[in-house]
Symmetry: C2
Amino acid sequence: MKASEVRGHLDGLLLSVLESGPLHGYAVITAVQERSNGVLELRKGTIYPALNRLERLGLLDSTWESVGERRRRCYELTDAGRRSLDTERKVWREFTAAIGSVLEPAQPRTAT
Amino acid sequence: MKASEVRGHLDGLLLSVLESGPLHGYAVITAVQERSNGVLELRKGTIYPALNRLERLGLLDSTWESVGERRRRCYELTDAGRRSLDTERKVWREFTAAIGSVLEPAQPRTAT
DNA sequence: TCGGATAGGTTGCCTGACAACCTATTGCCA
DNA sequence: TGGCAATAGGTTGTCAGGCAACCTATCCGA
């Protein structure tokens, strides 16, 4: 499953995997993939712009880290990011509850 | 909440409210709204093109109904539509499970 | 007779995820 | 030693789809 279906909930995913500690972009991709049991395969063209956007919004902080000659950009949750993650989780619950109640209403009887 | 967040799951919603019987477009809107406890407010510009698309895909059948001089277009699930609804529900469960496991991972001591 | 609710649309805009592309370093294998 | 894959970070253009705005028409009550 690609993130195409994730529209609007990507930010929550990113914030969530960063909750337990800083990660660089590439690691964010694998973290999401692992935590979803391989189901969610985010693309670079998806997460890099998203991480930048989240930083601009003040939800993430990034620092360049050097491993030898190679540079990595490490992203970390800010306090605002943590609060936002909290909100994202609430929205997610409301969202699933709403769709769920339409999609799978109280035990639909097949053939009365 | 608008359907903007519903991206990719709108079809399932529409098929779902039509499962218990034919409805015309306007009634679909109110049905979705009622079944989601007023949370999901679909727009005409959202559902009419969607219903047409679903008909083109063979998932719905439409018939014009006359109430006095006024014409209504009634949509009804086809067999393919029913099968598709089944698939949509499976996808929805997988989707929520995947996002959920990233967004709210292994919550220790939570009855869920 | 007029306005609002009902009913069915269409058009164009905007958002956001993605594919395709680019750069550079590191490590491994031939 | 040279070349290639994996790692790492990006940008650009495209495309789908939900939405606002708009249009038409009927029906009913004030």
